[in-house]
């Protein structure tokens, strides 16, 4: 007889970009987590504080991050459909709160926080998803997925189970797309030049659909592709894994 496994109580860190620009990614994430056997809750939240942190505004960043420490208290796990926001919590909260009274809380939250695909594969033990996508897809690996949350193979493992999907890997897929949060606003020329390189590499694959696990990168990439009239569509990886292809792809006209 196997032990009854209690369903882990998981909080969704929805990320401000998903919350504001693409709520359907939030719902796709919830579906994936529920399919993986989690009980999902969405505590009231704003932002992880990364824009302030990366702009050198430490006090603002700490004040915002403290609202996150409060919001995510007590959950078994905290999962974000983003390497960037997860990376902020996992890698940078401990540094941000080092030497303060919230040091232990920050370390605790960091230890319970995950990027979505890594959580699904490594914690929830998900090996396949129930989804179909008749397309050739390519993946942009976000810098934070690669270098802050250890996410590279997990999204590929899950995509391999999507029926009809063919993966076409791009060259230079570990190179930044040029978004970088405030970088895109402060140095738009350089950011746009990097984004054009990224769009070139993605188009070269011949893929119909480009995916990433970070909406920041996706907005940058899709904005660049669509400006040049590219036929390549762009989605968050959670949408494909959750089987939501009904929602128009990012920046595509609604019906």
């Amino acid at each position: 007889m196997t032990e009854p496994v209690s369903s882990p109580r998981v909080a969704l860190l929805v990320t401000c970009l998903v919350d504001l620009f693409r709520p359907t990614v939030g719902f796709a994430t919830v579906k994936l987590l529920e399919d993986a056997g989690c009980t999902v809750e969405v505590p009231l939240q704003s932002c992880c504080g990364q824009p302030a942190y990366n702009s050198g505004e430490r006090d603002h960043a700490m004040a915002i991050a403290r609202t996150m420490l409060d919001a995510f208290e007590g959950y078994d796990h905290v999962v974000a459909p983003s390497g960037s926001c997860a990376g902020m919590v996992i890698r940078h909260y401990p540094e941000l709160f080092a030497g303060t009274e919230d040091e232990a809380r920050a370390a605790d939250l960091a230890g319970r926080t995950w990027e979505l695909t890594r959580y699904l594969v490594e914690v929830a033990g998900m090996t396949t998803v129930d989804a179909r996508c008749d397309a050739t897809v390519t993946i942009h690996d976000s810098c934070s997925c690669l270098r802050e949350t250890g996410t590279r193979e997990q999204p590929r493992a899950l995509l391999a189970s999507v029926e009809g999907l063919t993966l076409a890997e791009a060259t230079d897929r570990d190179i930044c797309c040029g978004f970088g949060g405030t970088f895109a606003a402060k140095y738009p020329d350089i950011s746009a030049a990097m984004a054009r390189d990224k769009a070139d590499r993605l188009e070269e694959t011949g893929a119909d659909l480009a995916l990433a696990a970070d909406l920041g990168c996706l907005l940058n990439i899709v904005g660049t592709l669509k400006r040049r009239g590219s036929r390549v569509e762009v989605r968050h990886i959670a949408e494909v894994l959750a089987g939501d292809l009904e929602t128009p792809a990012i920046a595509e006209p609604g019906r």
Partner: protein
């Protein structure tokens, strides 16, 4: 404290110019493919590469913790082998010390091996202004000397130039030699060699930098791929080494340990073609070597970094690997940075040494992608230090007011999640309404910087948190 000829305050204009320069863009693409792939291959064929990195970091960290002791030991060892050590607090002192040594030797011509510190202190211009002709002997340095430009890359100073541009430079500056076409690589090299050979023989003083200073033995070490460093330090009567104080390591073994990752990281070679150890003056019975050996140790702001949040940048071994990995460097090239040290390492080192007043663009012009840290053989946490410098800028009140105000306004909402949810939902609904069914904006007031080059995807409408609060759950699209 200023680094020589700093133009970092014009970073934006210099970067814009670089982005429009099609020849430069072509040249930069070539750089990207070469060095980093070779590094990856070299790393793969050395399973203990990452262990060596840890060892190297340990050596440098230990040395920096006891820098005074090792520098004194180095000085004693140099003096014991017949050489002299001179201490320069800043660039002006360093230039004057070098000039004084050259003058004491009645030097007219000096040959120079590649030295980044020499660039940092503006040595060439100073020597020339004082009647001494410096001749760069590293091919890349020689090319940019002819062009009257600073180096654009730490290990490949003329990487921004293609063969056509080099051929034109040589044809202009070598009037006694035949004109060469850009495809005649051997001919171009032969010309440079012929010209430089005469200079080597004429030089009174040979100036080199140093990759390492070995405290135990008093040796200075240079690694090169052309052998020019050897000729620079062996042929003239006097060998003068200019080096930053952070170059010291305790022992010969320490230097050779770090060397195992230096060339692999920079050019992907197992070792550089030439590795030369200089130990004082020619001894009785030696067949060659200088009659006088001087080492000018340059501080120029370095000691002030000890114990500071940017101390770890002093571990840098100038392999240039972070430049090769950096997507920003790959788009704008080294000259845009307006500093001797460009790329990620320069974005930390230049402001750390010269202050943020003229260099505040450098730590900001990064997407913090972390590729530099991932490849750095010395595991220097460059993004962390860029953030620190941004904090310093914010504290100083020098950050642009518009950006700070915008951020403060946004933070005021983000600190109150309930208010944030209400306000952002309203904003997204307005924005989505404005987009209608188009899905994106080709232009949007207030988003000009973004929409000049990119479309902006329209939000879907009601925010996730608002929809969730109203009870909406997955499956509504099915």
């Amino acid at each position: 404290m200023t680094l020589h000829q700093l133009t970092s305050s014009r970073f934006k204009q210099q970067a814009a110019k670089a982005l429009e320069d099609e020849v430069l863009q072509d040249n930069l693409v070539k750089l990207k493919g070469n060095f980093l792939q070779r590094r990856a291959n070299a790393r793969e064929s050395l399973p203990e590469f990452d262990d060596l990195r840890d060892i190297a970091v340990g050596i440098k960290t230990h040395t920096l913790e006891h820098l005074d002791l090792y520098l004194e030991a180095f000085e004693n060892a140099v003096e014991a082998s017949g050489g002299h050590v001179h201490w320069a607090r800043d660039d002006a002192e360093a230039r004057n010390l070098v000039l004084a040594i050259c003058r004491a030797e009645n030097a007219k011509t000096v040959t120079k091996g590649k030295t980044m510190v020499g660039e940092e202190i503006g040595l060439n211009a100073y020597l020339e202004a004082n009647g001494i002709t410096p001749v760069e002997t590293d091919l890349g340095e020689y090319i940019i000397q002819l062009a009257g430009e600073p180096p654009s890359h730490i290990i490949a100073p003329a990487i921004h130039k293609n063969r056509q541009q080099v051929a034109e430079l040589f044809n202009d500056h070598h009037p006694d030699l035949a004109d060469r076409g850009p495809d005649d690589v051997d001919g171009l090299l032969a010309d440079a060699r012929a010209v430089l050979r005469q200079r080597f023989l004429k030089a009174d003083v040979g100036i080199t930098g140093a990759n390492f200073l070995i405290a135990e033995t008093g040796q200075t070490v240079i690694v090169t791929n052309e052998g020019n460093g050897d000729l620079t330090q062996l042929l003239p009567r006097v060998h003068l080494v200019v080096a930053g104080i952070e170059k010291v390591v305790p022992s010969l073994e320490d230097a050779t340990s770090i060397m195992r990752i230096l060339a692999r990281s920079g050019t992907g070679q197992e070792m550089s073609s030439y590795t030369s150890f200089s130990a004082g003056t020619r001894r009785p019975g030696d067949i060659d070597g200088p009659e006088a050996f001087h080492v000018v140790l340059v501080d120029n702001g370095r000691s002030a970094l000890l114990g500071s949040p940017t101390e770890e940048i002093l571990r840098c071994i100038r392999c240039g690997c972070c430049l090769n990995a950096c997507p920003v460097y790959g788009k704008v090239g080294g000259h845009a940075y307006g500093s001797t040290y460009s790329g990620p390492v320069g974005a930390v080192l230049t402001p750390a040494l010269a202050g943020l007043a003229e260099t505040n663009h450098l730590p900001n012009a990064s997407s913090l992608c972390g590729r530099c840290e991932a490849v750095c053989p010395m595991r220097i946490p460059i993004p962390k230090m860029l953030r620190h410098l941004r904090e310093e800028e914010a504290r100083s009140g020098r950050a642009p007011a518009a950006a700070r105000n915008g951020l403060s306004l946004w933070a005021a909402f983000a600190k109150r999640p309930g208010l944030y949810r209400w306000a952002t939902n309203l904003a997204m609904c307005v924005l989505a309404g404005r987009a209608g069914k188009r899905g994106r904006f080709a232009s949007l007031p207030g988003a000009g910087a973004w929409t000049r080059d990119r479309d902006l995807a329209a939000p879907q409408g009601t925010s996730f948190q608002t929809r969730w609060k109203k009870g909406e759950r997955p499956g509504t699209w099915a």
